[in-house]
Amino acid sequence: DGGAKEKFVVGYSQSNNAEPYRAQLNLQLQHFLEKYPDIELLPIADARQSSATQVSQVQNFITQKVDALIVSPTEPAPLTAAVQQACDAKIPVIVLDRTVNTDCYTAFIGGDNVLIGKKAGEEAVRLLPDGGKIVELRGITSNQPQIDRDKGFREAIAANPKIEIIADREGKWLKEQATPIMQQWLAQHPQIDLVYAHNDPMALGAYLAAQAAGRADKIKFVGIDGLAIPDGGIRAVQLGQLSATFVYPTGAQEAADTVNKILHGQPVEKQQVLGTTQVTKDNAADLYKQFDLSGQS
Amino acid sequence: MRAIGKSFPGVRALDGVSLTVGEGEVVALLGENGAGKSTLMNILAGVFKDYEGEIEIGGEVARIHSPKDARGHGIAMIHQELNLVPELSIADNIFLGRERAFLDRKGMESRAAELLRGLGLDLSPRTLIKQCKIAERQLIEVAKALSQNVRVLVMDEPTSALADAEVHRLYEVIRDLTGRGVGVIYISHRLEELEEIADRVVVMRDGRYVGERSSIDRDELIQMMVGRPLGEMFPRAAGGDTGEELLKVEDLSVPGEAGSGRTALRSVSLSVRAGEIVGVAGLMGAGRSELLEAIFGVHRPAGGAMTLAGRPYRPRSPRHAIARGVALVAEDRKAQSLVLGNTIAFNASLPSLKRFLRFGVVAAKKANAEVERQVRELRVKTPSTRFTVGNLSGGNQQKVVLAKWLLTAPSLILMDEPTRGIDVGAKAEIHALMSELAASGKAVLVASSELPELLAMCDRILVLCEGRITAEFGRGQATQEAILEAAMARQQVMTL
């Protein structure tokens, strides 16, 4: 019965608003959905990193009989049942960014973390032609993106046997955690050639530590996320703090388009895996302009 | 004070009470437990914000609604319950609330040392309160009151934890104060003290003023207080026949504890027969409480042996002691005996819950009925057994403690200052109760600072000094002088 209604209500449950990447995603989603006047996005529900909260949020949206649901799961398994409930209630679901363990959704849109890890690894191989010593700052160890970003990276650097990871620790995605860890590494290891951090804030936290120790110019920093915010990775590449970062696509535009299609009964692709863009000093300025939404909406 | 009235939820504590104190005069305030004495004085000291009536000082109306107001008018009060901060030093406590913005430690300490010496306390002003004994704390409260520039000093049972020697020193202090024109209001249940110190006695009953006398006639005062004549004060007849030896203590030694000011016991031997009341006398810090506590299993003895009812008795904790039929009415009801925030029924049934278990469930009705009966028997002044213990008057709290132990039906009952803060009427009742217990074949071991009480009640009196037994008197052999002499038979210089 697509198109019969005049106004569609869409609910979105975000795993944690207060991460720069997710704040950006929220902003973009709101921006792109504004193009469709017949779609109303309810205030974004923030699970604040709690799966239990997120399950209730999804249930709340089902209770409110939204016309479509977007979910960015905190963790895959816990949300599976909730997504199944939505599916049983005949509400189309778009799973954004992280997967769930059921097929009963309408579309999945997300980046490929293994691929991004691999690209980062390839960049590391390029930056260290003669081999070298790498330290790795991980996200929360049990998070799937952490696992994938690590996996892809290790696969790629295997190309050069002279490259080794001499230390890795959990930085919990946080800048503040990364700085003291990097300080300790700098004390322990006279030679560090490259820091691979699973997100830009950790890379920047490590950069601060290295700069303080006067070793920042001897170390390359590679991050992931590439956000177009003043405090983000693209700017950091522009400023020469990071050697490279990789845009982890928010999928906001795709999600907006997909929702629109679903609501109007048009067919959509079920698996939409997004690519990544490497941010280098050359393309940084353009990319920033492309993704920056602060002037619009 | 004129026409003072005060209500608590459910209780009319004071109703139109007036009281005057002249310069240099000692007015004693007398009344049964729960008569409203402390409440009246608390109003004067600014503890309660709201009350009816008005207070006049030096001919002018004074508005006293906070302790600070009271202090501004030169009123100081020694409260019935000790009010010291355990983690602070003696000097800090004495000057609490009146320090300079930047502490003058030296000045405070030397002034505190002076005050302590004046009260005969040989303590460093830096000692923490938690390391002081109860009697010492009570004297520190006195020092605290004296340290202020007072016009009126209120003392609410200042001697309840003091032995004779300390009491006499306190009298000297009071006389010194009155000589300087300070008016003193003195609350005590020890009538013999009033004879010695009071110029005038004001009697209260049920929150009302009853009358006052300048000459002290005990019987008349008691009649006024209780509203009925009272028989003999110490009703116990000469030692009846006693039964088997119930408790035997041989060479009991308990190490002292520096941190908490606990006295050591040094090879104490004694025995108590069924049907016997044995008294323990001694000065403060003699170890009377330790002795009773050790028998109750509170402290782990370092040596010695005990037998109870013919069987070896090695209490590892109060729990074991209670299981063997021993009860201890502890010295400090607030700290050691009562869960103040809970009800009378809860407190009184706590050690005897086992008796009321049915299928593992507490038969609350049955327990309540028993508590009700016991509470009525002891004439606790309370609206119901669901009343919060902390809101009872001091003496009534003490009665709840007694009720609690009587409910365990003990065969040996240890009493540490059992009539502390108890009015004469109730005291007579408790004495009658002790006699009754003894008559019914129970053994009673009682530590008390009131020698007349011991002399009248006990079949035998043991005297402790520095943790040793220094004398034992049979009934009729003992005199106050002989006991005091034994109590001061020190063997070593006190190490503080």
Binding site: Q59, P78, A81 | A335, L340, F346, F387
Partner: protein, 352 residues
Amino acid sequence: MTTKTAPPAPAKAPAESRLRRTLSALGGAQAYIGLVLILAVGIATKGDMFLNETNMTNAIGAFASRGILAVGVTLVILTGGIDLSVGSLLGIASMTAAMMLSKYSLEPWQIVPICMVVGAFFGFLNGAGTTWLRIQSFVMTLAMLSVVRGLDRQVSDNVSVGTQIAGPDGKLTPQAEAFQLFGTPGHNLFDRIYYPVLAFIVVCVIFHLILTKTRFGRHVYAVGGNPTAARLSGVNVTAVTIAVFTLSGMLAGFAGPIDAAYSASADPQAGQSFELDAIAAAVIGGASLAGGKGTIIGTFVGALILTLLDNVLGLNAVSDNWQLVIKGLIVVVAVVLQRPDLFKFFRGGSRS
């Protein structure tokens, strides 16, 4: 209230006192004001969408595991202690459940006791540390929080373990199927009864009875009210303290499988910061952190306040930042309204 219009005084007294006794067993009417207000706002703003079985089940189900923790924490708080480790204990119990299910294909009725033993074991250590080593319970359980979280992550190798285990035929194994009943949203026991809600209520009832009807319950209150007096009254303070920590751990162990089933997986981070919610539920319900004061009914009400507040704000699509602000404010208002002495003034001379 009604007393003014009631007939002669003597006749009314017994009825009133019975009512009053019932009320005071339930903690007095004021204890429910916060809850009633939230229900009223929920009904006023969302009507049937709020007040229906599904929504209530969802709301309470989401909080059930934290509610069960709150019951255990209440016991500890009553003795004057605090238990910060319950979140971690729930975490390791949920991991235990998931591993028992996935590695050994145990039946649910075997898994639950094992998890309870695991929780009780660590709870016992908490109790032992606070009594025998005389460490403040805050430090002891904070240390336990860290230790157990570390162990949880180590045994799981930092990977979350799913509970929806498929057999060779691609369908869920019978054990996994049965395990879903423990809490997977949409899976009910006996047709309509959602297990987490049932478990939470049953735990509340059992511990309410233990606290009010048994000697142990009175000892708990005595230890919290005045430990010295309790000891001198023959209460084994050490044993009671160890017991409450062990029970708290055991309940966390019991909540573990529920959390695992609810999330369809045991995350190595599961239960993180649940302790704050649990303590908040107890304290909003009137428990005093000084010990000796509090009830299970209060904790139950506190838990409902927290979860229904979330639910009402969520249904009304309040933005999340404002939700944080409003939630804090309402908790303050609820606590103030619930204070027993607030209406003393109006009730006149009666005491309670």
